[in-house]
C-alpha cells in the first residue's frame, strides 16, 4: 500500500518536475530579486463575464460585463502604447466565453501575465471599495491533508489508485504549477492594489486569496482585480463613467509597470 503511494507520488513528481522545468524556461520567470527586468512577450487581459452571463447588476441597470470590457479596452490601449509586448483580450465584444476557454487563450498564447478585470457585487448595498485577488492555496493544502489522511485509510486508497482517477493526479500537477507562480501573483496584486488605492479613492479592501476558477487554469502569474462595487449605487455611478474607468485602467497599468520595473 505504501509502495503504491510512493510510486504514484514519484510519477506525480516526475511530471511536475517536467512542468516546472517548462515554467523555468518560460521567459516570465526572470528573477526580479536579482535585479533583472521581467521580460514578457504576451500578456492577457480578461474582461470578466460577457454575453448571457452579465455578472453583477447595479441598481441603475449597469452590468458588470460592460464595465469590465470598457476598462479592459482602455488598459489594453495604455499597455500597448507604453510597453513593448503583445496584449491579447479574452473577448473584445459582448460575447459568452467559458472560463475554460479564457485560460486556454492565455496558455495557448504562452501569456507571461494574466489580469482578469471585474467589478464587485455584494448582497449588502453598503459594501464598497476595491480589492485584488490571487489564487487561494487552499486547494493545495487540502490535497496535502488528503494524502496524509490516505496513509491511514486503505479503503479510500484503493479507490484513489483506480486507473480512472488520473484526473486527481492532473489536479495535483496543476496545483504545483500554480504554486510556482503564487509569489509573483501576490507581488503583482500588491502593487496593483496600492495604485488602485492611490488613484481611485475607494476603500482599500486589500489583497486577498480566493479559489476563483479563472485563476486556477492559467499557467503564469495571474490576478483578478475587483474595482469598486456595482451593487453600491454611489460606486455604480462612478463605474459607469468613462473617467473612472480610465482611472482604473491607469492604476492597473501603474501597478503592472512597477511590477515589470519599466520606468513610468
Amino acid at each position: 500500500m505504501k509502495i503504491s503511494r510512493i510510486h504514484r507520488t514519484a510519477r506525480g513528481a516526475a511530471l511536475a518536475a517536467a512542468l516546472l522545468v517548462a515554467a523555468a524556461v518560460c521567459p516570465v520567470s526572470g528573477d526580479a530579486a536579482a535585479g533583472q527586468d521581467r521580460r514578457i512577450q504576451t500578456m492577457v487581459i480578461d474582461p470578466g463575464h460577457g454575453g448571457m452571463e452579465t455578472g453583477a447588476k447595479g441598481k441603475f441597470g449597469n452590468l458588470e460585463k460592460d464595465i469590465t470590457l470598457a476598462i479592459s479596452l482602455k488598459l489594453k490601449a495604455i499597455v500597448e502604447r507604453n510597453m513593448g509586448f503583445e496584449v491579447v483580450l479574452t473577448r473584445d465584444k459582448d460575447v459568452d466565453v467559458s472560463i475554460e476557454n479564457r485560460s486556454a487563450i492565455a496558455n495557448n498564447r504562452k501569456a507571461g501575465l494574466f489580469i482578469s478585470i471585474h467589478a464587485n457585487g455584494a448582497v449588502q448595498k453598503k459594501a464598497a471599495g476595491s480589492e485584488t485577488f490571487f489564487l487561494s492555496l487552499n486547494a493545495t493544502d487540502e490535497e496535502t491533508r488528503r494524502l496524509a489522511y490516505l496513509e491511514n485509510n486503505s479503503s479510500e486508497l484503493q479507490s484513489r489508485l483506480d486507473p480512472s482517477s488520473d484526473d486527481d493526479l492532473m489536479m495535483i500537477l496543476w496545483d504545483m504549477a500554480q504554486t510556482a507562480y503564487i509569489k509573483q501573483s501576490s507581488r503583482l496584486a500588491e502593487l496593483v492594489q496600492e495604485e488602485l488605492d492611490a488613484m481611485l479613492g475607494t476603500r482599500n479592501r486589500g489583497i486577498k486569496q480566493a479559489p476563483f476558477k479563472i485563476l486556477t487554469g492559467v499557467a503564469c502569474p495571474a490576478i483578478l482585480v475587483e474595482a469598486a462595487f456595482i451593487s453600491n449605487p454611489a460606486e455604480e455611478q462612478k463605474l459607469a463613467s468613462a473617467d473612472f474607468q480610465a482611472k482604473i485602467a491607469e492604476a492597473i497599468y501603474r501597478g503592472l509597470a512597477r511590477y515589470l520595473r519599466v520606468p513610468e
Binding site: 447588476k57 472560463i99 476563483f212 476558477k213
Partner: protein, 199 residues
C-alpha cells in the same frame, strides 16, 4: 462441472463470511456511533427546548446558520431549531432550507429565496454533496463577494453543525457546474472557512 460448483460454493461461503464481518462492523458502528450522536443531540435539544414543551413532539436539534449583515462584510451566526434525525443528511437538508428561508433577526441570506435543496448526501469520507435547484444560479447575478458568501454560507453551515462533514461539493440540478456566477471554482470540494465569520 462438479469442481466448478465446488469452487462456486466455497466462493459463496467466502462472500457470506465477508458479509457477516461487514454486518458485524456495521452493527458495532450503529451502536457505538449512534449512541454518541443521540446523547449529543439530546443535550443540544434539551436547552432551548425547555420552553416549548409540546408533549410527544419529535426531538428538535439546534443548528447554527450563517447569514450576511447589511452593516459589514462578514457572515453572522444565528441559531435555529429544526426537527432532529433520522440521518445527518436529512438534518443537513433542513438546515439548508432554513438558511435559504432567511434570518429571523434582520440578517440576510446570501442565497436566492427560490432555491430548493434537491438532495444532500454525506459520504463516509466526510464529503458532503449538496444538490441545489437551478434557482441558485438563475435568480441572482453574483459578484465575487456575493458568490463567495453564498458558497461559504452553505459550506460553513454544513461543516459547523455536522461533525462527519469535512468538506463540501456543490451541484446544480444534479450536475457539476464550473461556477455559480463566473467566479468561485466549484470543481473541487470546499473546506469550511470561518475567517469570513464575524466574531
Amino acid at each position: 462441472m462438479t469442481e466448478k460448483k465446488q469452487g462456486g460454493v466455497s466462493r459463496q461461503a467466502l462472500i457470506l463470511g465477508g458479509l457477516a464481518v461487514v454486518l458485524l462492523v456495521l452493527v458495532i458502528l450503529f451502536f457505538t456511533g449512534g449512541i454518541g450522536e443521540k446523547v449529543k443531540r439530546f443535550v443540544d435539544a434539551a436547552v432551548p427546548k425547555a420552553s416549548d414543551a409540546a408533549g410527544g413532539q419529535a426531538a428538535a436539534k439546534t443548528v447554527t446558520l450563517f447569514f450576511l449583515s447589511d452593516d459589514d462584510d462578514f457572515l453572522h451566526k444565528e441559531t435555529r431549531e429544526i426537527a432532529a434525525g433520522p440521518t445527518d443528511a436529512e438534518e443537513a437538508e433542513r438546515a439548508l432550507v432554513e438558511l435559504i428561508k432567511g434570518s429571523e433577526k434582520g440578517f440576510v441570506s446570501p442565497l436566492p429565496p427560490q432555491t430548493k435543496v434537491r438532495q444532500v448526501f454525506i459520504g463516509k469520507d466526510g464529503l458532503a454533496t449538496v444538490d441545489f435547484s437551478r434557482d441558485i444560479t438563475e435568480k441572482i447575478s453574483y459578484g465575487s463577494s456575493s458568490e463567495l458568501a453564498a458558497v461559504y454560507a452553505v459550506v460553513d453551515t454544513l461543516a459547523f453543525n455536522f461533525k462527519p462533514v469535512k468538506k463540501v461539493v456543490l451541484l446544480v440540478e444534479g450536475a457539476e457546474k464550473e461556477t455559480l456566477g463566473g467566479h468561485v471554482d466549484l470543481s473541487r470540494p470546499f473546506l469550511p472557512d470561518y475567517s469570513l465569520v464575524a466574531r
